[in-house]
């Protein structure tokens, strides 16, 4: 993978530093969310199939449409979270937050800690069930100014948030952040 080939250059600052993966439980969270999405696509398809069950000019035999949606959806639910999980990696380094993620669009991002405006830890209902937190990092950047690391154990997310906060507050440079 690309990350492994170029990671050493970045981690030269801290030799023992490694790119970490998310908490495995995030896969279940993603699965539940994708299942909901699949259901949202499946129900209209099923409705369409049912309403056209007895129509004489049906262009598809019964169940083809809803079956396809369901099949693809299930595949999506089963495979996608795993791929996404495997693609995700991040590291909190002395001066930056590094992350690499994306299945189709592979993205490597370096956020210098001094550029962070503020940090949140957020949690939705499903994530709360699994005691996971999402680290949301806000920068003043012009595009994708919010960077999100999903699926961290809540305690760890809060610890990272506090570390970043401390780093920013102890900045010896008193000039404006931007």
């Amino acid at each position: 993978m690309d990350a492994s080939s170029s990671a050493p250059a970045l981690s030269a600052v801290v030799p023992d530093d490694t790119v970490r993966s998310l908490d495995g439980a995030i896969q279940s969270v993603w699965r539940i969310k994708l299942a909901g999405l699949t259901l949202a696509a499946f129900l209209p398809a099923l409705f369409y199939d049912l309403t056209h069950l007895f129509s004489p000019d049906a262009w598809l035999p019964f169940g083809v449409l809803s079956g396809t949606v369901l099949g693809l959806g299930l595949l999506y639910v089963l495979v996608w979270p795993r791929l996404r999980y495997r693609a995700w990696g991040f590291a909190l380094r002395p001066e930056e937050l590094y992350m690499a993620h994306g299945v189709l669009n592979y993205v490597r991002t370096v956020v210098p800690l001094r550029r962070i405006q503020h940090v949140d830890v957020s949690q939705d209902l499903i994530e709360r069930e699994y005691a996971l937190g999402r680290l949301v990092v806000h920068t003043a950047g012009s595009r994708s100014s919010d960077v999100v690391i999903p699926g961290l154990p809540l305690g760890e997310a809060e610890r990272i948030r506090d570390e970043i906060k401390r780093f920013i507050l102890e900045d010896p440079l008193t000039e404006d952040p931007v």
């Binding site: 170029s6 592979y106 956020v111 003043a140 950047g141 595009r143």
Partner: protein, 581 residues
Amino acid sequence: MPASSSPASDPDASAGPENADAPDATDAPPDAESAGTEASGTAVDSASAPASSVTLGAVQEPQRLHPLTLVLRVGASLPALVVILLPTLQNPSSENLVSVILSVVYGLVALPAIVLQYLRFSYRITPKQIVIQKGVIRRQNRSIPVERIQNIQTQQNLVARLLGLAKVTVETAGSSATEGSLEYVSLSDAHEIRQAVRSFQHRTTEGAPADADTDDAPGESLFAMDLPRVLLSGAFRFSLLYIALIFSAVQLIDPAVIGNVVQRAVHPGGRLDQIAEAMGAHPVLTLLGTLLIAGVLGWISGIAIHLARYYSFSLWLDGDKLRKRHGLFTVTEGTIPLGKVQALILRTNPLMRVFGWYELEVQTIGMDVNEQGHRVIAPFAQYEDILALAQQVRSFDLPETFGSVSRLTIRRRFFRYTLALSALLGSGVYAWPADWWHLGGVALPWWGFGLVPFILVWAVLQYRNHGYAVRDDGLYIRRGVISHYLWILPTEKFHVFHTTATLFQRRLNLKTLFVDTAGAATFAYPEVIDLPAVEADAQMDRLYRRFQTLYRTRIEEASGAPDTRLGIEDRPRLPVSKNEA
């Protein structure tokens, strides 16, 4: 260097007593107004520049907006009244009593609301903040710290200009919209407000008294455009937007009305009539005629827009700030602190490029909706002048040669555009009626595939126009054929670093490098598209390393020691051991 902007650092000897005095001075006026004004005057007098004491006294107590604001607001609310009364106006009869009653109710509600709003709105400017109190039902008390203010802009539209009023908007970093807006104050008040805030900012940032620059004393003039230059600049730009607006407006009007107008404009048998008839004779001629008219309209509207926006454009340097003023009907005046310039952008289009004309923009944080976070510094100037001007805004070292991206980008772009064209033409062929225009026995859309060679040329042009250079002082990127950009991103202002690879880029082992800077969203981003993957990652690391080194050096210079936060014990890291335990 801004030394004491952070509350954490010790206040300077000169700033200390002044900051302590200031609240007393501002608290005084409610007790005894005339005495308070004097007190505030003397307090500031003793602390700093006597020249600014007059301005301070004038704005430190709560101020109302200019009374004429009432007139303007009532005027602005009239269109709503017309809409309510529209049925009555069209058809005056007793049946439309409802709308008359509605308008009376409207008057009873809206007019007192305007007056109340006016009465309940007050602003005041203290050495530390601008305080705006407003709201009739829900009181809002907003204070904007002076050191956070990025920009104070005054704007005058035509009516305001006739009445000698101005709208003052205050922008800060970190908020996506204008944070405070004073609509309207008298022009002299507007100048005083800006003057006062500026002198306060000078004092908080430098701990030294503000240089007594009298208002409107032109600093070093950097750039100005006279009328011919503005017209010339407009002539180089088409404004397709306004054509679209005109056409959509035409759609709304009853065709019979247009017919009448055209009939009246075109005398039967006249030359215009003949031309129109000749054009209607053949579809190709009609098409060409339409394009010609659209082109001329776009050209004229381009000139008109430019004239309205940039009439008597002038830019001058005022201490560490750029100030500019321009506009025909609406005169806009704004300030850009040099330190807040995030990136320099040189823009041009092919026509301008042939004659060596360029436009200079800077990226700032305070968001200006009209300019998409980009401020035009010089709308139109020759390349050398633009470069010299840009150097004055921020010094840089433009590289002689730019590195190019991978040649595979031509292939990628060619495939992408051809696919898009095929999708378009394919659906066109599918939907093409049999009795419509057929050329050579096939439906017209098929002929669209004749454009494929041009796509190739286009892709090659895009490749040729795309280049980048990584330098010690920053990243230089140029890109674009129709609107050609040159971005100059200083290392100091780098924000977030990305490399991305889409599914298709990964197949060709390519990546896109993007270094974000602070600012608002725009149309075009300084991306280096389709670099070889290894190079993209290496360049990102290199850029980040430069950024890191720059700030480490700065910290060492400021504190006299390496960054303590990076010590083995103190540096941020994940508590791996605790987590695993």
